[in-house]
């Protein structure tokens, strides 16, 4: 990419892809924006009209909105903390040489290949169910009252399920980062008198900073829009106890048939996601510069 000529050629070559992606993004975005200013209810076809900011006013003053906002943040933060702490620990374990390493690594990655609806259903019916679930059986074995996870701690349960799905991703990224750590640095630290804990804090953790940043950025993007796990387990309930922003928009537009309100919610979600993105890049983006 050195000469002027090759740069121009490069631009020409990538322009179709860029244009396609741009159109792919712009069209739905423009339609959402358009709908968000319309009074558009599927139960009253043919009555669409411009309403200004009414949809936004209703969406933003809905008490469910603040609950959903809070739940979204709790979900994202909870899953991030669990997957990163757990991912670092698992990566440290998997980095040790042991017999059957290959098989164990594949097993650890496995949850990532299970689709969200399936894994949420498996968790709901086989683990968390207060009558037939594994946890209920264990509780009964010890003579305890089974705990109805999805009714009594719906958001925490969903955080658990989503963490289980994302833990392999975090582990995989952190493991490859750990394996790229120069062994001589660890040996030098060992000779310098650093014990295992000091070697972890002073050598490994700083080395992992960049990988952790990547995990946070990628996971945040996906965790802001968790939906399937909520739909098949709690349906956002009880009440709105496990409703996040994505689910609220779904309720608004497809359960209450209010496309205009749902679109307004969508636009709000886009704005919030961008605020989160700016915050993240400010806080940890510098880790990505080499």
């Amino acid at each position: 990419m050195a000469t002027k000529h090759s740069r121009a050629a490069a631009r020409l070559m990538i322009s179709p892809a860029v244009l396609l992606l741009l159109g792919w993004m712009i069209v739905p975005l423009a339609m959402t924006l358009y709908f968000s200013f319309q009074r558009y209810n599927l139960l009253m076809p043919g009555m669409e009209e411009f309403t200004g900011f009414t949809n936004y006013r209703f969406f933003l003053t809905d008490p469910a909105f603040f609950a959903a906002l809070l739940h979204t943040l709790q979900l994202v933060l909870g899953v991030l903390v669990i997957t990163i702490v757990g991912g670092v620990l698992l990566a440290l374990l998997l980095d040790q040489p042991f017999w059957g390493q290959g098989i164990v690594r594949i097993l650890v990655i496995a949850p990532f290949f299970v689709m969200p609806t399936v894994s949420a259903l498996v968790w709901k019916n086989m683990f968390l169910n207060p009558v037939n679930g594994l946890f209920a059986h264990i509780a009964k074995f010890f003579g305890l009252q089974p705990y109805d996870f999805l009714a009594q701690a719906p958001l925490a349960s969903i955080i658990g399920i989503v963490s289980w799905q994302w833990l392999p991703f975090a582990t995989l990224i952190l493991l490859t980062a750990l394996q790229s750590l120069d062994q001589e640095q660890l040996e030098a630290a060992e000779m310098d008198g650093a014990g295992p804990m000091s070697r972890f804090t002073y050598i490994m953790l700083p080395h992992l900073a960049r990988a952790i940043t990547v995990v946070i950025l990628i996971q945040t993007i996906f965790l802001l829009s968790v939906f399937a796990e909520i739909l098949v387990t709690t349906n956002g309930g009880p009440g709105t106890a496990s409703t996040n922003l994505t689910y609220l928009i779904y309720v608004q537009s497809l359960l209450q048939f209010d496309v205009g309100g749902g679109s307004a919610g969508g636009v709000v979600a886009i704005i919030l996601a961008n605020i989160v993105a700016i915050f993240l890049m400010r806080m940890i983006g510098k880790n990505l510069e080499s």
Binding site: E184, E187, A188, A189, M191, A194, G195, Y202, H207
Partner: protein, 333 residues
Amino acid sequence: MGRITLDKVRKAFGEVEVIPPLDLTIDDGEFVVFVGPSGCGKSTLLRLIAGLEDITSGQIRIDREDATDVPPAKRGLAMVFQSYALYPHMSVRKNIAFPLKMAGMDPTEIDKRVNEAASVLNLAQYLDRRPGQLSGGQRQRVAIGRAIVREPKAFLFDEPLSNLDAALRVNMRLEISELHQTLKTTMIYVTHDQVEAMTMADKIVVLHAGRIEQVGSPLELYRTPRNRFVAGFIGSPKMNFVEGAEAAKYDAHSIGIRPEHVDMSRESGVWQGRVGVSEHLGSDTFSHVHVDGIGTINVRTSGEVDVRHGDTVWLTPTAANIHRFDKEGLAIR
């Protein structure tokens, strides 16, 4: 104090024996160089001494105390790695201070020692930079700084200069020798470069396939190599070896003669040959002379000599400097 004794130390990786049982004593304050071709086990031996590898059998004593099972941090040795192994996310100051911090030393004392080391090594103005912002030679000095602040019993260097360019290598060689004169601490230095070994060592240990071929001062090894391997390895350019009928005249299986111990003349001599490639260095000229029935002999002549490709010349080895070797390659004295 820093006297290190290896007693029948043996190392095997699985089935493969890398170091057969080996005895060696390194005296306090000595500058010892382990030299040998790549893959002969120099690094492994150094790492055994450092404690970074477990020895398969045998004993290592440091200052008469058994250190075989002592963890690396407790042996009181400092190591400089080939890759320098600096901590990339720490400033130079923090890198040098790291071992002291790990030892739980008082911060003011740490500062004092770091500044001292930095001034000895000319690093004072780089203390707040990261290793990534330093040149190769400066990184090297940071690695040495990190080693000296600990005031170890002995320094271990693993090919520390091999990543530097030729000019810098000569400089750092001098600096390390100078450092040894000032600190008078035991140093063990690993290299595959016999020039480094000859110029720096008090004592050279020549290794070959994990075995010690010979131990001695640089000049001892140069004058009286114990076998053909040492004779060929020590000295630059390499010794010329001649086998067959010519060697039989000297009652040997093979004879060796260094390029600097062959006289070249246009008129007369023992061997007649044709000049091949000549390397003109200004101070010396190295001519590769093809002699029928003997092979190619490399000859050193001092100064600028006017020899051309294809010239006919006469060579005469100086009799006193001919090394004789038997069938097993051992020197005959």
